[in-house]
């Protein structure tokens, strides 16, 4: 019995040592460079694309021995070519380490490239074995290369900072986060249009930094237009994706700020026999007063009512603005077409060819219900 146990233990140890190294696929950390962010732009002048790859410098920790540590721990590689895999292989002429895409955080598309259509570029990211389906997609309002060249104060690798920024957008609910999976699903469905978050460069400060604001609407895979922050908020209200944020209202001369505690939205299309579509959007929100100025003369319950009405108006305006903008672009970003397809597939078949025209004529009925639930720590700041 003991003999068998020893043999078993030795066999298992051998199996683990020999197989868990990955055979020919084993890669040591010092032979790869981890790609943190990728940018794709239209190549200047000629056809093709320019790819910018941001790579984090892994390796040497100084253990406090060296007093001056390098300020930047990232490197940007940029090359132009016809196909993405071709460019990456071209980069092997320059890089001493193999590029590893498994930890890629996002892919940014430059504005020109986004307007041309990004489907050919997405093929590589879907087909390759190392790239993953949950990388974020972003559109830049200039070029992707510029965004990746912008340094950040908070992190030695700007791409990681930008990835964290994407994750933190839930705090303001004025930007969307889309990954490749969502984008491709929406792009391929006939009744939806995808949206991608916009990243811009803020040049007002001495050192330029990036900021995420608004979103870009896509028709299939081509970008057709931008939407501002209030419109994006309207989109998030309708799609039930509000996490947190503030609603700023002005009652009379004063401005007040209410925090979104809970928010939900539902969009329901209705189809009648003549293929006439009516859409009703219902939004409910629970807000809490976080800043109130200039309403001391008003009795507190009435002040609450005034704020409630003002909030309902603001939210309604934003939802309306977003819907109208999407109609101008002719992009069904809410997926109304898909919802119709789910319930009435036969009627959808007859409508889908001129869905854009039908969509542009829809007049939504928007109802907003706001409940101002708590005033914060004080009731009213009396004079």
């Amino acid at each position: 019995m003991k003999h068998r146990r020893t043999v078993a233990v030795v066999a298992i140890s051998l199996a683990i040592c020999l197989t868990f190294t990955g055979c020919w696929d084993g890669r040591e950390l010092n032979t790869i460079s981890l790609v943190a962010g990728v940018g794709v732009d239209a190549a200047k002048g000629k056809s093709g694309i320019t790819m910018t790859v941001q790579v984090g410098k892994t390796g040497q920790t100084n253990n406090g021995k060296e007093k001056e540590s390098p300020t930047s721990k990232y490197l940007n590689y940029q090359k132009s070519g016809d196909t993405e895999l071709g460019i990456i292989r071209e980069l092997t002429h320059e890089t001493s380490r193999r590029l590893f895409f498994g930890h890629n955080q996002f892919i940014i598309f430059g504005k020109q490239e986004a307007e041309k259509g990004i489907k050919p570029q997405l093929d590589f990211f879907l087909r390759d074995q190392e790239t993953r389906l949950d990388v974020w997609l972003l559109t830049s309002d200039t070029t992707a290369g510029e965004i990746l060249n912008t340094e950040s104060d908070l992190s030695p690798i700007p791409a990681m900072d930008l990835a964290q920024l994407i994750a933190n957008q839930k705090a303001n609910s004025e930007s969307v986060e889309t990954d490749i999976l969502d984008f491709t699903s929406k792009m391929e469905s006939e009744g939806t249009s995808p949206v991608i978050g916009l990243v811009k460069i803020d040049r007002t400060t001495k050192k330029p930094k990036f900021l995420l604001s608004g979103m870009a609407a896509f028709k299939q895979d081509k970008m057709v237009g931008e939407m501002s922050e209030p419109e994006t908020r309207g989109y998030l209200w309708t799609m039930n994706k509000i996490h947190s944020g503030t609603v700023d209202v002005k009652v009379g001369n004063s401005g007040s700020s209410l925090e979104i505690l809970e928010g939900s939205g539902k969009i329901s299309p209705k189809l009648d026999k003549n293929n006439h579509v009516s859409v009703s959007i219902k939004i409910t929100a629970k807000l809490g007063i976080r800043e109130m100025t200039d309403l001391e003369n008003v009795a507190f319950p009435k002040a609450g009512m005034l704020l409630q009405t003002a909030c309902e108006e603001t939210i309604q305006k934003r939802v309306q603005a977003c819907f109208q903008k999407s109609q101008v672009y002719g992009t069904d970003i809410y997926g109304i077409g898909k919802m119709i397809d789910e319930k009435n597939p036969k009627q959808w078949d007859s409508m889908k060819n001129n869905w854009e025209q039908i969509y542009k004529k829809i007049k939504p009925s928007i109802t907003v219900q706001v409940q101002v639930s708590d005033p914060g720590q004080i009731n009213q700041f009396k004079k």
């Binding site: 197989t19 990955g22 055979c23 020919w24 696929d25 879907l126 074995q129 993953r132 389906l133 949950d134 999976l181 491709t184 699903s185 391929e188 469905s189 898909k338 919802m339 397809d341 789910e342 319930k343 597939p345 959808w348």
Partner: protein
């Protein structure tokens, strides 16, 4: 029966038999791409209907097991059809089990290459795998199915855990609109599902080894339903998480696992899923390998199947390279020709055997009466 004396010594319990069936059916989770590319979001309907369609054949198989106790498929063929025709049909079945085994080995090698080890030549993966399977087959059926219970339970646990881990990405609207695929495609998928995962004629080779023959019916049906339920949940989960892109992915359930993750720690657990699938494939290949060896040795009236095991292993390995030149051809042929071809082995032959058995029983009864 003179032949195959070493086969009759191998006895397995009814519960091991049941879990062997569960592992066999569950391993199809690797290959759901074949069906998802045909019927898209209605694949789960095809699976349900395929389950229903497979039931008559399971009952026919159970009837044959009951009528010919302790006799496996080759022996049954010999008894029913007589030596010449029976041997011919048995030769076809030997080829069938050999092909199934090679196809599964090819799928395992391709899966490992496409998901984790893209540069290692598949032969270096297949040789150790086959060595392990040969060892198990040489030691006997008992050893092959010994761990089926453990791995079936691990499979359930993994299914529940992984479904919870991807729950935040589920979008039930991906299942709609329902039943918009053409009836021909739906029929094609039902055919594929009935023959590939739910094709259980191999268990006619293994059922005689069950100790308590009375429990075979219950074990067979329970194993089949449990395995089918697991596959159904996997397919629904893949459609719900991946949406439209599930039609185009080569390994949809693997990609679902790549997306899994709750917090920063429990992210990207696809490698554990790969290990589980490889283990389930080990069961399937070992069972098929055993069935092939026993079938060939019984057909040729050898005393024992053991000498031929390693040689058949080499044949399976080389066959797995010859069988298809590329995975694109593999996908095309599996969706178009193989469902029809496998119908012959899984449905037509057992049905004819069933009819012959019934006719013979009817002939004997008047003979006894008179």
């Amino acid at each position: 029966m003179k032949v195959g004396s070493s086969v009759n010594h191998d006895k397995i319990t009814a519960s091991q038999f049941m879990f062997a069936i569960v592992c066999y059916v569950e391993s199809f989770a690797l290959l759901t791409a074949f069906s998802l590319t045909v019927t898209h979001q209605d694949t789960w309907i095809a699976f349900l209907l395929g389950m229903v369609g497979a039931l008559p054949m399971i009952f026919i198989n159970l009837y044959l097991i009951k009528q010919y106790p302790n006799q496996n498929l080759i022996q049954i063929n010999r008894v029913v059809y007589g030596k010449p025709v029976g041997s011919l049909i048995s030769v076809l079945y030997c080829w069938y089990f050999l092909t199934l085994c090679s196809l599964n080995l090819r799928d395992t090698g391709d899966f490992l290459r496409m998901s984790v080890m893209s540069e290692t030549p598949s032969i270096f993966i297949k040789i150790p795998f086959l060595v392990l399977c040969s060892y198990a087959v040489l030691k006997g059926l008992k050893i092959i199915v010994r761990y089926s219970t453990v791995f079936a339970y691990i499979g359930f646990f993994a299914l529940i855990l992984t479904t919870i881990l991807v729950s935040r990405r589920m979008n039930y609207h991906n299942l709609f609109p329902v039943l918009t695929t053409s009836p021909v495609k739906l029929l094609q998928c039902i055919n594929m599902v009935m023959t590939i995962p739910f094709g259980t004629s191999i268990f006619l080779m293994i059922a005689p080894a069950v100790q308590d023959q009375k429990k075979v019916k219950k074990s067979f049906l329970t194993g089949f339903f449990v395995g089918a339920l697991v596959i159904l949940i996997v397919v629904i989960r893949d459609i719900v998480v991946l949406g439209k892109i599930s039609e185009e992915l080569v390994l949809p359930s693997y990609e679902t696992m790549c997306l899994s993750g709750v917090t920063e720690t429990f992210q990207r657990l696809d490698i554990l899923y790969v290990i589980l699938l490889v283990i389930l494939e080990y069961f399937k290949i070992s069972l098929l390998f055993y069935a092939t060896s026993v079938a060939i040795s019984q057909l040729l009236s050898l005393k024992s199947y053991k000498p031929l095991v390693l040689v058949i292993g080499a044949l399976i390995l080389v066959y797995s390279f010859i069988i298809f030149p590329s995975s694109i051809v593999h996908l095309a042929v599996t969706q178009t020709t193989i469902p029809v071809l496998w119908l012959l082995f899984e449905y037509i032959f057992p049905f004819v055997t069933f009819l012959c058995t019934k006719l013979r029983a009817r002939k004997e009864v008047p003979a006894i009466k008179s």
